[in-house]
Structures are given as C-alpha cells and as structure tokens.
Amino acid sequence: MSKTFDAIVVGAGPSGNAAAYTMAKRGLRVLQLERGEYPGSKNVQGAILYSDALEKLVPDFREDAPLERHIIEQRMWMLDETSFVGMQYRSEEFNEERPNRYTIIRAEFDKWFSRRVREAGAVVLCETTVTGLIKDGKGKVIGVRTDRADGELFADVVVLGEGVNGLVGQSAGLRSELKPKEVALAVKEMHFMPQEVLENRFNLKGDEGLVIEAMGTVGPGLSGMGFIYTNKESLSVGIGCLVSDFTESGATPYDMIEAFKNHPSIKPLLAGSEAKEYSAHLIPEGGYKAIPEVYGDGWVIVGDAGQFVNSVHREGSNMAMTTGLLAGETIARLHRTREACTKLNLAAYKTALDDSYVMKDLKKYKDIPNYLHENNKTLLGLYPRLLGQAAQNWFRVDGTDKKTKENEILASFRKGRSVTGLIGDALKFARAWR
C-alpha cells in the first residue's frame, strides 16, 4: 500500500468524521483510519449531542441519525453524603421542531456518522492502528505508518483526530504529554430498564429526555462529578474526577461509581435496572492554556487530541465537530487553489478557530481549570455540605425561631470557611469566570 491521498484522517470519532466528511464532500480523496472493529467501538462519551455543530455539517441529520431523546430538562445537584441541593430548569420550549440537544449512544451514532462519511466518498479503513507519522527530510509530515503489512500510507496532509490519549501526535513530538492534574478520568455504566418505567420515573413523555449533572460528595470521603443521562430505554450513569485526585486519594473508580449509584438520592432512580456495559474514558480538562500547537507542516490536530473541551459547560463533542469542520474547510480550500499544506498555509485553520465559539469560549474560561483544581476540596466537599446543612435547617420546622435559624446558618458558613475565606472564594471565582 503506497497509494497517495489528498488527506489521511486518523480516527473516526466526531472530529475525524467531521474533517473526513467535509473534505470528501468537497471532492478530496480522503482516507480515514480507525483502530476499532467498527467506528464507535473504541469511543466513549456521556453522551450529549449538540445539534448546532452537527447541523452545520449534516443539516438533515435528524432524518436518520440514531438519536435517543431530546433534552427538555437540566438538573444540577450539589451532593453531600445524604442529600443534595439542586437547581432545575425544564421548558416546553425545548420541545421544538429542531431540538437543540439530544442524548445519543456513541457506538450507534458513530456508525451512522461514518456511513455518511463513506457516502460522501471517503475511504474508511477499520481495524487499522496508526503507529507513527512519516516525515520527509525537511520534517514535513507526508504520511502515516500503520500496523498492517506494508502499512505505509501517504497524503498531502494528515488530520489527527485520534482523541485525548492520542499516541501518534504525542510520540511524534507534535504536542506535550498530558498531565494527571489536567485530565479527568470518567467511568460509566449503561443501565437498562423498560421505557415506560424510565419515562414515569423521570417525568418524561415521548422522546423527551433530561440530564442530571451532580457535583460534590459521591461517596464517603470521595468527591467529584457525577451524571445521569436518559436514553430511550437506558440511563448513562457515570462519575469522574481528575486523575491526580484518584492517584492521591487511593480511591478506585469502581468504588466511586458504586458509591454514586448507592447515594440515597440516586439509588431509587436506578432501581430494577440492568447494567450492560462498563466503560472508562479520559477527558481533557486543561482548557485554553493546555491547547497545543494545532497545525504544522503537513498536519493539523482536531477534537480531544487538541484539548478542545469546555469543562465548565461539559461541551466537547460539539467542539470536536467544529474543529474537524474548520480543519476540513481549510484543507479543501488549499486543495482547490492548489496550494501546499505547509505550516504557513494551514495557519488559516487557527485563524478560523480563533474566530469561532471554540476559542472564544475556551479563552473566556482560561483560568477556570486552575481555579477548580486549586479549590477542589472547598468546592466539591465544603460548599455542598454547608449548603445542604443550611437547607435542612431552613426547611425543618422544630420550634426554633427563624431569626435563630438565620444566625445558625450564617455562623455555619463563618465557621466552615471564615468571612475572608468566603469573600476570597467569591473574588477568585469572579476573576476566573470573567
């Protein structure tokens, strides 16, 4: 195999598919390589699909994409060991003709997306692991090595959509190693139950769905994030925290998801369900400051491999698709004008990124990852506990007068965090958010 393509795309996740689709649609000869048995077999996500990013690629995706439920309700819970304080938003306006967000099951969705990529004209080769990049004498990337016999493949440009744990770009020195405090480990289980049980339990009808995002104490002494997403007849249930928190605490991910599932506020939601899969995945949490060089001579990086994740809003798959689209458009434009995929010319990809919501959002939150990391214990441990205690004091009717209750609540915050601590936290948060 020494055939030459206009572009080689490494990986068949949202970013690689978006890039391959965009370029194939514009007539480029595209080869896409995927190590899994089928596209999606190695991919893990919550998963929420953001319509806007996909619509810009495949406007009619709703006609045949495997979508689970459109989201009409968001619950945000701060957990302590026995309770939660929550905020909830539900609107009939999310029951619209072209819903804004959907739950999806990635193995199904990625297969569908890949079919669209092939229909657009790309060649998709599965069960092929890319083992390295091939460079010419001047250091320009001209192809990839694979684990197939005679597995050297050549192209004008290589699009790296290889995901968060992408070894190809890493080993070629295109970007630096991930750090345990800049990446989260999430584990997830798929819990199945009859559709009507699920709909009654979560107050849903038809294709309506909801999202629960939890943070705080997910088990005795274990703090992190948790989530439940409603699919058609299953729940995606998971937890996550920074890899450095796992290594330092000695907590195991499987104990932690078990503790989350057994939390008194979560357990009834899962009752009677059957777990059918257990998966794990890394999530880049470093944000803007962790984004590597995303283009060079003969290569571009898209999706999680480029750290394009907004951890505040839990957005990543949309950024993957948008970065894939922008990279694909840049390369297709160079192809049309017969310009080479040099570093200088591929800089247009970075310019397009800077003009998009991707870089604008990540830049806005550039100080948040560091803030969250440094204030982890206060935010996930102390504040949920103080809020829970305050709520309980406030709602419990026990003969104590309201003025005394108010004073007790204020005193608990002063004692738990001190007035300067409280003000300091607020200021630091405001600065990081701005």
Partner: protein, 103 residues
C-alpha cells in the same frame, strides 16, 4: 450507616462490571507491559487503585503486575507513569481489545 456503606463497598467487584463488556483478546500480545522493578515507584503503585479496570495488582514480592485482558484503553496508566517510565504502552493491534457496544 457509613460503616455499612463502607462494608458493602468493599465487595465492589470490578470483574462483575468487566464481565458485561465485549473483548477481542489478542492472546500473547499484551499492549501494556510493566518494566521489571525491585520496588514500585509511587506512581506505579497508585495504578493498583487508579486503573478503572483493576488491571494492576501486587504480586507476593510486592511488585506491580498487569493483566491486560480487561483493559478499557482509557490511557490513565500511561499518563500517570509518563514521567517515571514504569510501563510500556501502545494501543492493541487493529481490531483487538475492548469493543464497546454502547460507548
């Protein structure tokens, strides 16, 4: 109540979770290996609790061993040990390893 919870947690069996998954095992070609060592580094030792598939364990000489069959290919161990170089990590050959039905 906490004591009861802790007790029930102690019996969390990761094998039961992995049992629900599909794998195509590449017998004789482990994609991760632990380098020979006398005493594990702190990073290497932490993998016995941090690996979500419970692939890492201590042998009777208190050295860290790996059994890759249940690996979920998340890459956590690679990142934890990137600075110490305790393990060799590559992806399984194309088509092998975990096959997510849902993902």
């Amino acid at each position: 109540m906490n004591a009861i919870e802790l007790e029930s947690e102690a019996v969390v069996n990761v094998e039961d979770k992995l049992y629900t998954n599909r794998y195509q095992v590449d017998a004789g070609h482990p994609h991760i290996t632990v380098k020979p060592h006398d005493k594990p580094s702190k990073a290497l030792l932490s993998l016995t609790t941090t690996c979500p598939a419970g692939c890492y364990s201590l042998n009777d000489r208190d050295q860290v061993e790996i059994a890759v069959d249940g690996c979920l290919e998340c890459g956590t161990c690679r990142i934890v040990c990137a600075a110490t170089g305790d393990i060799e990590w590559s992806y399984p050959r194309g088509g092998f390893g975990v096959l997510f039905k849902f993902g």
